[in-house]
């Protein structure tokens, strides 16, 4: 059995970026509930985890699965108008036009683009999280960007 760090260490290191990823994937209103589901599932499975090599990717994989489950159940949510209020004051203002377009992308492209740009992840890690090959992860990011370019002119 691997030596697992206290779960709180994972929360300190990754909970915020998982929260941001879920906002990108399911939208701001559902992201909170998906975060709760993802963290509770992760903590439930954590003591039995056999491979502790990449806990960040493991956590994102669970969050991605919860996000996709949510989208399948409830359909899509458009980015809400309250986003600027919740954005950090010193962060760059969000581009709502672009966000609306991201929200219209197919699930895999949206997940891949969000992981790439929110999580700054390698294609290998994105592939692991959304459960596809590395070339397919790259292709999803590229195809998503092409669509966004077309949509935003």
């Amino acid at each position: 059995m691997p030596t697992l760090p206290p779960f709180q260490q994972l929360l300190d290191a990754h909970a915020l970026e998982v929260h941001r990823f879920l906002r990108g994937l399911v939208g701001p209103d559902s992201a909170d509930d998906c975060l709760q589901d993802a963290l509770l599932s992760a903590l439930r499975a954590y003591p039995r985890l056999r491979n502790a090599d990449n806990l960040r990717a493991w956590l994102f994989t669970i969050a991605h699965r919860k996000g996709i489950d949510h989208l399948r159940r409830n359909g899509r949510e458009r980015p809400a108008a309250d986003m600027p209020e919740r954005a950090i004051s010193n962060a760059e203002p969000p581009d709502h036009g672009l966000w609306n377009q991201v929200a219209k992308l197919p699930d895999k492209q949206r997940a891949a683009i969000t992981l790439r740009y929110v999580g700054d992840m390698t294609y290998a890690t994105i592939a692991e999280i959304i459960d596809c090959s590395e070339p397919a992860a790259r292709q999803n990011v590229r195809a998503g960007l092409t669509r966004l370019r077309k949509a935003t002119g």
Binding site: T3, Q8, L11, A15, R20, L35, D95, L148, R149
Partner: protein
């Protein structure tokens, strides 16, 4: 293409994490341990509880990362920081340090005690506040007459100091001998229980 994703406001995120913590430590929740660090007159104390009770207290002379890693290996890695789970422990410790509480009434989780330590600490817990016993006396009460040294080791490794009062055990000549948290803390606690002012 310049992609700027919205951030999550830190206060909003903290609220969501607190909500998660509360749910995780509910009766059938997945968290097995909750901890919190708070100030005291003898320095910051880290306290950890399971659903059975208080399982660990450590002084700031110990590295919290080591303490939490040890709890992760010995009890469970399902550990979260959750101040609300430690409210009762903190309230009694605050009252004790303020001089308004003499005996703790807290559920304890003794799973980190070794079998010999269980006997030693049971004998130690029976010493009233303000009084002391010698290592030899405790060794005899724990069923190992002549085992003063082993008793000293068992007391030095007390997982729940202050609440389990290992500071009330001193050398036969009345000197303090040793303490897991350092002799200044031991002296402070004994003075506090005798109603004497001392500076830590």
């Amino acid at each position: 293409m310049d992609i700027t994703f919205t951030n999550v406001d830190h206060a909003h995120h903290a609220t969501q994490l607190a909500r998660f913590g509360e749910r995780a430590f509910e009766e059938n929740g997945p968290a097995q341990l909750a901890y919190h660090t708070f100030p005291s007159p003898i320095g910051a104390l880290l306290a950890a509880v399971t659903r059975q009770g208080l399982v660990r207290i450590c002084f700031e002379s110990e590295d919290p990362e080591d303490v939490l890693s040890h709890l992760s290996a010995r009890v469970s890695p399902a550990i979260i920081e959750l101040p609300s789970a430690l409210v009762g422990v903190r309230r009694q410790l605050d009252a004790y340090f303020a001089g308004s509480l003499r005996c703790f009434d807290l559920p304890l989780d003794r799973r980190l005690f070794s079998p010999f330590q269980t006997k030693v600490l049971a004998a130690t817990s029976a010493i009233p506040p303000g009084e002391v016993k010698s290592y030899g006396q405790i060794a005899a009460l724990a069923g190992r007459p002549g085992g003063a040294q082993a008793t000293g080791q068992a007391l030095g490794a007390n997982p729940i100091p202050v609440v389990v009062p290992c500071h009330r055990v001193v050398a036969a000549d009345g000197s303090l001998r040793g303490y897991g948290g350092g002799l200044e803390r031991k002296q402070f606690l004994l003075d506090l229980e005798r109603g004497e002012q001392s500076l830590f």
